[in-house]
């Protein structure tokens, strides 16, 4: 960075001092911005999450976050939790369990399609679908949130566990439009098959991990 012919040598001390000073100043700025907005940011995140969960589980009035691991189920401790599978238990106004919501994701047409699905432990079925984030083609891939026939797949999508309780009895998958024969299949949207398959794969991957862990411990989340 010294292009001139006459180079005035700056002492290393001056350089280090300047950088130190600037870094300190910047550190103070960042930390105060972080502290100042922390409350509002986490409140915003909670509201957004609640809104998404309540949308897929009608009738829910409050929710709690849990983590399912091989060792059992624990309330989530705020921070991200390594190996466990995160899920949300939603409760009605009187504190009864309305349903379980969990996130899933798979690569769609353009990028990862992130979804939130509702699971009804009583019926052992997926009962709702919401989209958390995607970059699918507008007017084609984004039909997964508007197409009523597609959303009808998620009124009661069968996710029963097999006899051992280690995996789903029948893997959830999306099939070509019009060829749905079984309650665990998703009738894909004609013309948006790739996106529909991503939804199916996202649900399947997440449910295969979560439900076997959840089933033996369901009582822990039964009431608030």
């Amino acid at each position: 960075m010294t292009g001139t012919a006459v180079v005035t040598v700056t002492s290393s001390r001056a350089m280090v001092a300047t950088l130190g000073l600037v870094a300190t100043l910047c550190g103070v700025l960042i930390v105060s911005a972080y502290q100042g907005t922390l409350g509002a940011v986490s409140a915003n995140k909670r509201i957004a999450l609640e809104r998404a969960v309540f949308k897929v589980i009608p009738g829910a009035a409050s929710m709690k976050e849990f983590v399912a691991t091989g060792a059992g189920i624990e309330p989530a401790a705020g921070q991200s939790s390594g190996d466990g599978v995160k899920f949300y238990a939603a409760y009605g106004p009187t504190g009864e369990l309305k349903g379980i919501a969990a996130e899933g994701g798979a690569t769609g047409y353009a990028d990862v399609v992130r979804i939130l699905y509702a699971y009804d432990p009583g019926r052992q079925a997926i009962t709702g679908l919401g989209v958390v984030g995607m970059r699918e083609t507008p007017g084609i891939g984004d039909k997964i949130i508007t197409d009523q026939a597609f959303l009808a797949n998620f009124q009661a999508l069968d996710v029963r566990l097999d006899a051992d309780g280690k995996a789903l009895a029948n893997p959830v998958r999306a099939v070509k439009n019009g060829s749905k024969r079984n309650p665990w299949e998703i009738d894909a949207i004609s013309g948006a098959t790739v996106t529909s398959k991503a939804v199916g794969k996202g649900i399947n991957d997440s449910a295969q991990r979560l439900l076997p862990l959840l089933a033996p411990n369901l009582d822990k989340v039964r009431s608030k």
């Binding site: 994701g105 690569t107 047409y109 353009a110 398959k197 794969k201």
Partner: protein, 195 residues
């Protein structure tokens, strides 16, 4: 996202989600350096190299900031460390491999503040890629950038020989070309999707 294979990540970063043509990252060099084929290729190679360095640094740094619960320092540490690492690499290269330095070195300072490089670091963090996935992603992003740069340079070299109305010349024409390329690359969409 632990279940995406390295191959899928690579293909997606090169074609379906090409950094330049689908994600709009690294447009400054894309429009600025793509005039000639013989500078486009080394520029792409140098960028790929910097992306790999950045990806390595970002992976380590992310582990650090998460471990010490300092997420608010992530961005500032990424940019400072990546810039320093690239300068360090540049110095080492100059000393031990002057030939390589002459081929790539002149581009290195330019690339450090290229948004594609920081983009690699930020996206691999946001998508929670593992170490191998991160490096594959960086390599794919670099290959995709190089591909776009070389294709564009080839087109522009041809265009120099064509008669073009004055009013269209310059950046406007480059952007229209980039639009056509981007349209062509949309044909790759869906390639990364697994069954």
């Amino acid at each position: 996202m632990h279940d995406i294979s390295a191959g899928q990540i690579f293909v997606s970063a090169v074609l379906a989600n090409n950094f330049v043509l689908a994600m709009f990252l690294g447009l400054c060099p894309f429009l600025g350096v793509s005039g000639r084929l013989n500078t486009a290729a080394p520029m792409g190679a140098a960028t790929t190299f910097v992306m790999l360095v950045a990806s390595l640094c970002a992976y380590g740094l992310n582990w650090l900031v998460v471990h010490f619960d300092l997420e608010f320092l992530r961005l500032i540490s990424y940019i400072v460390v990546i810039a320093s690492a690239v300068q360090l690499v540049e110095m080492v290269m100059k000393k031990y491999s002057p030939a390589l330095f002459r081929a790539l070195g002149i581009y290195l300072p330019l690339i450090t503040t290229n948004c594609a490089v920081l983009g690699v670091a930020l996206f691999q963090t946001a998508r929670e890629y593992s170490f191998i996935q991160s490096l594959t992603f960086a390599a794919g992003a670099g290959a995709g950038f190089t591909l776009a740069l070389v294709l564009m340079a080839g087109l522009r070299e041809r265009l120099n020989l064509a008669r073009v109305p004055n009013v269209v010349q310059g950046t406007a024409l480059s952007l229209m070309l980039a639009g056509l390329l981007s349209l062509a690359f949309m044909g790759f969409a869906g390639l990364g999707a697994g069954e």
